[in-house]
Amino acid sequence: MPTSAAPIIEITNLKKHFNPPDGPLAVNKISMAIMAGEIFSLLGPNGAGKTTTINMMCGLLTPTEGDVIIAGHSVIKEPLAVKRALGVVPQELAIYPTLSARQNLVFFGKLYGLGGSELNKRVDEVLEFTGLTERAKDPIEEYSGGMKRRVNIGIGLLHRPQIVFLDEPTVAIDPQSRRNILDAVKELNAQGTTILYTTHYMEEAQELSDRVGIIDHGSIIALGTQDELMQQVGEQDTLVFCVPDVPDEFIDTLGAIQGVNKALHVDDEIRLLAKDGRTVLPDAIRLINEAGLSLQSVEVHEPTLEALFLHLTGRALRD
């Protein structure tokens, strides 16, 4: 979907401080704009502030400071007007398990102000879009995890919103269901819907997004198109060594190799960020062998958003 130059969402100095002054500062004065028609991904590890940001944007949480203008309406001053423009798909399966998919959709459709034949038409369309027409009358508690996720998404689309917020919609589902959801997001965007997509999966952000905002500890640490973001990390490779039982001090040894910009230990993996991965590779393997460690596999990755996050924070996205 071609994006417009006009922002449909403008976030200004958005801040959320829970139970101040001692409580956590979940979001720290975020400012950014999301353009009409784009897929914007908010990428960050768990606890980075993605959900808190979305919750403030849809009126679930009151910002400590700042404001969000959505489709021309302030979320603080005109929350109901903002909510009419939004479709929100929460991270939790916020559906009624003892009701069928159709009963859930009819209930939420009515609350979105739909009625009569229009409601029935939209429910049928959403069931078709989510591929649940055949099972529409079954209680949701009998659905698979992926089907439940699709109902969860479908509810947010009932009233044809201009903007859809999807908060980690692929958490804890099988690869096929994930594929279906990613395809549905692209199709939705192709129909003209602006998408704000939060995830901690780098691959999803890379596949879907026109632009990406990387969030960590409540602050946006990088923002732009994928090309723009890759320029920040430079032409760096990521070397991934699978080595069990690595002592932490050994990471410093690897970090001292000439050409290595950063070294990181994540679970059973050692990650090295280097301008030319192939040059660094022999020295790294030699040091691992000399240390008596068991090298199980080696991978060399081209520059990715993961590498950018590593470059900016010194940590992996999954931390």
């Binding site: 003892t98 009701l99 509810i155």
Partner: protein, 421 residues
């Protein structure tokens, strides 16, 4: 208002589809109504069984037993007198040969008392008649279980029988004594004197049959018996209606944890509409449960009274108070488990405190006062006023007023303390 109704109807649909609602909302209260009702005497009212052991076997002791039976069974069959020497004691569950084994009478009576088959045993000891004939005093032993108010009532009946017997004996002794001293009519120990004593005693007893003074007890209201079901019906109904309405707390806390409440907040409707819809559903389900349990009670013989308007007002107002309490509870519980525990704790505390398990008439005055912190006490007062005293709407207005006041306080606290975020 439309979103409120949509949410209320959806939640009601969910509740009705839930098997637990049927089990805890209908099946359990009906079972408890039956169990408590039967335990408290079913539709017959509580019958107090008193054993009578006549070890004397004299004409006077037999007369005394007849008097006791007359006094006790005149009380609307509240007492069942089981005289061991008589073959006519029906429904007493005594051994068939009990009349022929006087040596076992005392131990049988003690066993029955210990097993609470009886409330008491009256023992007329050997020599009872001789003492009376000689103008001496004698005693009758009354053993009792100390159970509730039954012994006091039984004691009153024994006293009445003793007064009657004492009066007749005194007349007989006095008359025969005058004849003996004034007219030297017969020797003190002669059969003639005994015959004269018996004759006067019989005449006195006959005279007692038509009591010179009787009480004409009149009531402007038809009395309904306090049968087991008439106590268990309203008690069980109000307790389970309260517990059903308190489930508002569990529902709100569960939906907050599950995320459905937050999803509703993201819709273009006001937060008060969402909460009101949820509470309206709990209210509707509780009121519906109230109506069904009243119907079930009627089938079991519970006499709810003729005041249909008053009953309807209780059905409308008591679930309102209970739902408001559920809202207040929802604001102090952090997890579903906490909400369920508090719901159970409150239900099982307020029910007995408010007189749902036993009549508040039998508890000390200070407990009656404390019991009225429970909404159940006020609902029970209103229901019992209509059931037992033919109460009008005016009569139950104070109780309904208190229930409405409680509802206002609980709502105010709930709204003030409710955390949307």
């Amino acid at each position: 208002m439309k979103p409120v109704i949509i949410i209320a109807l959806n939640d009601t649909l969910i509740s009705v589809k839930e098997r637990a609602t049927f089990l805890t909302g209908l099946l359990m209260p009906v079972l408890m109504m039956v169990l408590l009702g039967v335990a408290q005497g079913g539709n017959d009212g509580a019958t107090i069984t008193i054993d009578v052991i006549d070890e004397d076997g004299s004409k006077l002791s037999t007369q005394f037993v007849d008097l006791l039976t007359d006094e006790m069974q005149g009380e609307q069959d509240a007492f069942r007198v089981c005289a061991y020497h008589s073959d006519t004691a029906e429904d007493c569950d005594l051994p068939d040969d009990i009349a022929d084994t006087p040596g076992d009478w005392r131990s049988t009576a003690d066993d029955r008392l210990e097993k609470t088959d009886t409330y008491g045993a009256i023992i007329i000891e050997d020599g009872f008649g001789d003492h009376l004939r000689a103008g001496d005093t004698t005693t009758v032993t009354f053993k009792n279980s100390g159970n509730l108010s039954a012994p006091t009532l039984a004691q009153q009946k024994i006293d009445a029988a003793i007064s009657r017997m004492s009066g007749s004996v005194a007349i007989a002794n006095l008359t025969v004594g005058i004849a003996e001293e004034t007219f030297a009519a017969f020797d003190p120990n002669s059969p003639e004197r005994a015959a004269a004593f018996d004759s006067v005693l019989d005449s006195a007893e006959t005279a007692w049959q038509d009591r010179p003074i009787t009480v004409n007890s009149q009531s402007t209201k038809e009395q309904v018996s306090r049968s087991g079901f008439n106590q268990s019906g309203p008690g069980t109904t109000t307790m389970f209606v309260l517990m059903m309405a308190l489930s508002a707390a569990s529902i709100l806390v569960y939906e907050r944890k599950a995320g459905t409440l937050q999803r509703l907040y993201t819709l273009p409707i006001a937060k008060w509409q969402i909460i009101t819809g949820k509470l309206l559903s709990c209210y509707l389900v509780s009121a519906l449960q109230f109506i069904i349990l009243i119907g079930v009670g009627m089938l079991m013989g519970v006499e709810w009274g003729d005041n249909i308007v008053g009953l309807a007002l209780v059905i409308l107002i008591f679930p309102l108070t209970s739902t408001a309490l559920g809202l207040a509870l929802a604001t102090v519980a952090r997890t579903s488990a906490q909400a369920s525990s508090l719901q159970l704790l409150l239900g099982l505390t307020l029910a007995p405190l408010g007189g749902a398990w036993w009549p508040l008439e039998i508890v000390p005055d200070f407990m009656k006062t404390i019991g009225h912190i429970s909404p159940i006490a006020w609902a029970m007062d209103a229901l019992q006023e209509m059931m037992f005293y033919d109460g009008t709407v005016i009569d139950i207005l104070p109780m309904l007023g208190v229930l409405l006041g409680m509802a206002a306080v609980f709502f105010a606290f709930g709204v003030w303390n409710f955390k949307y975020e």
